[in-house]
């Protein structure tokens, strides 16, 4: 078990990503942040705050629950149905550049489900993927556009992201 990112490092990574977003997209116009529940949501909120501080733009922010789009729902391995939370996207995504935000990128299946969900909401101009941690072991051709930190792991290990808003503290821990 090891803490691979502390609160300080996390804040700096998120701020750095905010700068990268503004730089790569030549400003913050027509952007929107969508956090994947559960922990993608606070990260997206922090990014919105940082982008506001940098570029003085209010980037609309939404929350997406991808449970209904998962590809593993009906398999016995999952057991009883996972609980669904509300999706809240209170703005039109047509012609916007969507920044899809999640805490950990692993097999890529969550991202695929999120892409399917977003497409059902409208037709964005483009979608870029933001993750705090990329732990490797992709099973689909998915690549993150912005990464907080790359942490190579083995399949037996698990990566726990904890956030102040949900868990009471900011840290990333690798177990196993």
């Amino acid at each position: 078990m090891a803490i691979v990112m502390d609160a300080d490092r996390m804040a700096r990574s998120i701020t750095r990503i905010a700068h990268e977003i503004v730089e790569r997209n030549r400003g913050a116009e027509n952007l929107a942040l969508i956090g994947v529940r559960a922990r993608g949501v606070p990260i997206a909120a922090r990014l919105a705050a940082d982008i506001k501080a940098i570029a003085n733009v209010d980037v609309p922010t939404g929350a997406l629950d991808i449970t209904l789009y998962r590809d593993d729902l009906m398999l016995h391995a999952v057991g009883p149905q996972p609980v669904i939370r509300r999706t809240e996207i209170g703005f039109s995504i047509d012609d916007r550049l969507i920044l899809l935000v999640d805490d950990v990128l692993y097999t890529g299946r969550t991202t695929r489900a999120a892409l399917d969900a977003i497409i059902d909401f409208g037709r964005p101009r483009a979608i870029q993927l933001v993750v705090l941690i990329d732990r490797g072991h992709r099973e689909l051709p998915i690549k993150a556009d912005y990464v907080g930190r790359n942490i190579p792991t083995s399949r037996q290990q698990s990566v726990q992201v904890r956030l102040q808003e949900i868990d009471g503290r900011d840290e990333v821990e690798v177990e196993g």
């Binding site: 629950d65 209904l68 789009y69 729902l73 009906m74 398999l75 016995h76 391995a77 999952v78 057991g79 009883p80 149905q81 609980v83 669904i84 939370r85 509300r86 999706t87 809240e88 399917d116 969900a117 059902d120 909401f121 409208g122």
Partner: protein
């Protein structure tokens, strides 16, 4: 404050009597998420893709059937409807044989509405599919109870402590039974009101107050639910006339004034305007009758989703 369950124990939804309060909370919470799907431009999620759901309706019903079909389609399931008039049931096939014929097509879920209480239970003994009761005889109509509760929760923010008056032919009403069971499980206060000839047994043991005075039932009520009264009740010597029924039990604006100031009026539909409910009330600001219909799709999506899990529970 009840905790929310994380899954349903049963494979079937045969009645509210089989659900615990935490499980009811789970259905209502899931329904909230499902309701949002109906606000999107593409009102569809792939969750039940490839699942086969058969709607077995032995009794005519437009709104419940449509509501279930819409719920199933929004979850991307393959749905098939069977209503009595177009099937071999008319030729005298028993429920058991119809069930076995359908079972041979390996459905994943069967939604059944039938005139005999207990028909879904019989189906559950024959079929390996998950069975959802869409109304059996005088017994239960669980998805109606759930969508009514969802509507109340949406408008009032809570179920515990709500004063709910349910008025009508309670004896023959499966909607009443499901609502009464659900509301008492969730801590609401139920007032059962109707003519003495149409009052069911066993209300005291459920903790439900009974009265044949609509004014007493409506006084201070947060929710007033009116049930349909059928013309056949006059033949069975239950009621002298619809006119007298309306005089004694009809919900008018004047009567509604004695309820709580933010009272909501509900009706499972279809309404007999001028028999159990005045048009002014049905179309007025207190009425959430159309909300009930919209919520029906979301609640049924929630039920289908929760029962469709890989493991489920014990049959």
């Amino acid at each position: 404050m009840t905790t929310v369950a994380t899954s349903l124990r049963t494979r079937h939804l045969l009645g509210i009597e089989d659900l615990t309060a935490p499980e009811i909370d789970l259905v209502l919470q899931t329904a909230s998420a499902m309701k949002e799907v109906g606000t999107r431009p593409i009102k569809k999620v792939p969750t039940l893709r490839g699942r086969t759901i058969i709607n077995l309706f032995f009794e005519p019903s437009t709104r419940t059937r449509m509501s279930f079909e819409l719920a199933e389609k929004r979850l991307s399931a393959d749905t098939l409807g069977m209503t009595t008039s177009g099937s071999s049931v008319v030729k005298g096939e028993t429920l058991a044989d119809t069930a076995r014929t359908i079972e041979a097509m390996s459905p994943d879920m069967i939604v059944i509405r039938h005139a005999s209480s207990g028909a879904p239970h019989q189906l559950a003994r024959i079929s390996r599919a998950s069975i959802i009761n869409a109304g059996d005889g005088m017994h239960e109509h669980p998805t109606q109870g759930l969508l009514d509760a969802f509507t109340m929760l949406e408008r009032k923010g809570r179920l515990a402590g709500l004063k709910v008056a349910i008025v009508g032919d309670l004896l023959h009403s499966r909607v009443f039974r499901s609502n009464a069971l659900l509301l008492t499980k969730m801590g609401a206060e139920v007032r059962a009101c109707g003519p003495a000839t149409l009052m069911p047994f066993g209300m005291a043991r459920l903790g439900i107050h009974t009265t044949s005075s609509i004014d007493e039932a409506v006084a201070g009520a947060d929710v007033v639910m009116m049930l349909r009264v059928q013309h056949e009740r006059m033949q069975g010597l239950f009621l002298p006339s619809m006119r007298e029924y309306f005089n004694l039990f009809g919900l008018t604006v004047a009567r509604l004034k004695h309820a709580a100031p933010d009272v909501i009026v509900m009706h499972p539909g279809p309404m007999n305007r001028g028999v159990e409910i005045d048009s002014e009330v049905a179309d007025g600001p207190w009425s959430v009758i159309l909300d009930q219909v919209a919520n029906g799709v979301a609640v049924r999506m929630a039920v289908l989703y929760l029962l469709a899990g890989g493991e489920g529970g014990e049959p």
